[in-house]
């Protein structure tokens, strides 16, 4: 393979921009080490929050690449976390995990039902879900924070989800497994081919006998399941909740998915890209904190990163493809 055909292949990847940007960021943070990016605590924090945001972003990019959007992931993230903690007291951790995940998946299936069967616009459906589940969180928790009991904190499953291994949070390793699994589903399975086809041209996919409803249902269910799983991973590590848990997470997840190369019109996206998008957003955030920038700058910066990412993505894929 010639170097130019390698570059041209790279240019076809949805996540080419994220790969280049993540590499560039690592170089910059290494060269101008403002506050010890490679320090133990920064790495730990960055990897953990990348995992938490990344889990949500991977699910979000599945929905985005079918041409839909899921605004409810932040609320489902919070609801599942609170359900896990609330159920853990009477049911024990393993059953609480299953029950909380069942709630997350059910929420995704309801989104899918309203979009696929009732033919409603996903932005409206999931905006309603965002408010609905956030409201449920307020009612259910009565506005108070809850936490895991001491016994439940040392439960094996709590440790598996929220413990540490080799200095890193287990959540990070779980995240890596999820990214690999979903990247394989997207690029090398029938479901992945159908998701991409539907996002690219749903009429053509339909004419080939692709079951559009089933593929979209898979995307919405996976999105909620991953958001819920991320919520559980979060509270397994830091077992206290708050009613605002996961607020605005949907926007960060969409940003991470888009930075990772997901096209809002559908037909393009990647799990690795979403993961790198989460990494880029998270590491920039920690660098800003480290530089002593006011925390409110973070949101401003996400906005800038988003615009730059889209411009770079378009430019890179157009340039590399012509090689």
């Amino acid at each position: 393979m010639t170097p130019s055909s390698v570059l041209s292949r790279l240019g076809r990847r949805a996540d080419v921009g994220a790969i280049v940007a993540a590499a560039a960021l690592l170089v910059v943070f290494t060269a101008f080490d403002f506050n010890g990016f490679w320090s133990f605590f920064t790495l730990l924090n960055v990897s953990q929050y990348t995992a938490i945001l990344g889990l949500v972003a991977v699910g979000e990019s599945l929905v985005i690449l079918t041409g839909e959007i899921d605004l409810s992931v932040g609320s489902i993230y919070g609801l599942t976390a609170i359900a896990f903690i609330t159920f853990a007291a009477p049911l024990g951790v393993p059953l609480a995990f299953l029950a909380a995940m069942a709630i997350a998946i059910a929420a995704g299936l309801i989104n899918a039902f309203l979009v696929v069967r009732a033919g409603m616009v996903s932005m409206i459906v999931t905006l309603s879900s965002l408010f609905f589940y956030r409201g449920i969180i307020y009612v259910w928790s009565g506005g108070t924070a809850d936490s895991l009991s001491k016994a439940n904190r040392v439960e094996w499953l709590t440790n598996l989800l929220g413990g540490n291994w080799l200095w890193f949070e287990n959540g990070f390793f779980l995240f890596v497994i999820v990214v690999i699994a979903f990247q394989l589903i997207l690029t090398a399975s029938r479901t992945g081919n159908h998701l991409l086809a539907i996002g690219g041209d749903s009429a053509s996919a339909h004419s080939r006998g692709v079951d559009i409803g089933r593929a979209k249902t898979f995307a919405f269910a996976a999105s909620s399941a991953l958001a819920g799983f991320s919520g559980i991973v979060t509270v397994a590590d830091q077992p206290q909740t708050h009613v605002t848990l996961g607020e605005q997470m949907e926007l960060q997840a969409i940003a991470a998915a888009v930075v990772g190369g997901a096209l809002l019109t559908g037909g393009r996206g990647s799990a690795i890209g979403a993961a790198l998008g989460a990494f880029i957003i998270t590491s920039v955030r920690y660098e800003l904190i480290g530089m002593g920038a006011p925390s409110s700058w973070y949101i401003t910066f996400v906005g800038i990163v988003l615009v730059i990412a889209i411009i770079v993505n378009q430019w890179l894929s157009a340039t590399l493809r012509t090689l």
Partner: protein, 259 residues
């Protein structure tokens, strides 16, 4: 080519109403295997509606449809695909964002099990689509991994036609297959249509260009306002005579039944 001597497709007294609108009125028509039939008529004549019954998208209000001698009682696109009825349309059929190999098998992707998990069989997808690229006259530098967005209109039609042959279909319906194509590409597509017929397939060629289809069709069926107004062998009437029928919209009264 048919078992028990019946036509491959028989449509009997088909009525199709959308509310008060009658899209098809008592249409009866037979189609045989190894035949290229031109289905002609003005816009709104009912050509596409008739074909959508055949491809399982519409269920007739009245009338019966037989495929290979067996009556069809349930109309669904999936069933039509299973029976080997494929519609090639200009605007749909290929996803631009996917490679040729991925489009080729879209909806029926071959899988290979690795550790019990079904992974796409990329080798088969590439090899089979590469063969069609070669057989159906695409540029030499087009590869199975190239995205469809890079292809011309004629190349896209060629891939759709090639795909329908590779999947051993029995009926190929070509819906305005040469719209927006260059002269050379149009000839290529028409040549492919003849090639399919010679292989024993039933080819239904929808167009409103009577002159073009008269050159290649064995038989011409003309619809007007949902009614069949002519059904003649190509040799029995000139294209000018057929055009006359279309222009008069069957108002001369005498329906030309020769079938």
């Amino acid at each position: 080519m048919t078992t028990n001597g019946a036509p491959l497709v028989r449509m009997e007294n088909i009525d199709l109403r959308f509310g008060r609108f009658e899209a098809l009125k008592h249409v009866s028509v037979d189609f045989d295997a190894g035949e290229l039939v031109g289905l002609v008529g003005d816009n709104g004549a009912g050509k596409t509606t008739l074909i959508r019954v055949l491809s399982g998208l519409y269920t007739p209000t009245n009338g019966r449809v037989f495929f290979d001698g067996k009556e069809i009682t349930y109309f669904h696109p999936k069933l039509a695909i299973e029976l080997g009825i494929e519609t090639i349309q200009q605007a749909v059929g290929l996803c631009e964002n996917l490679s040729i190999a991925r489009n080729f098998y879209l909806g029926r992707e071959p899988v290979r099990h690795v550790l019990g998990l079904p992974f796409l069989d990329f080798t088969k997808m590439r090899d089979d689509s590469r063969k069609v690229l070669h057989d159906f006259g695409l540029r030499a530098n087009v590869g199975a991994d190239d995205e469809v967005s890079l292809l011309s209109g004629g190349e896209r039609q060629s891939i759709k036609i090639g795909r329908s042959v590779a999947f051993k279909n029995r009926v190929i319906i070509m819906d305005e297959p040469t719209n927006h194509l260059s002269v050379r590409e149009r000839e290529h597509v028409n040549h492919l249509a003849l090639q399919l017929r010679d292989q024993g397939l039933l080819v239904i060629y929808i167009t409103h260009d009577i002159f073009q289809v008269h050159k290649i069709a064995d038989r011409i069926v003309i619809l007007e306002n949902g009614v069949k107004i002519a059904d003649v062998k190509s040799g029995e009437m000139t294209s000018d005579e057929l055009e006359q029928i279309i222009r008069e919209g069957g108002r001369t009264g005498a329906s030309q039944e020769v079938a």
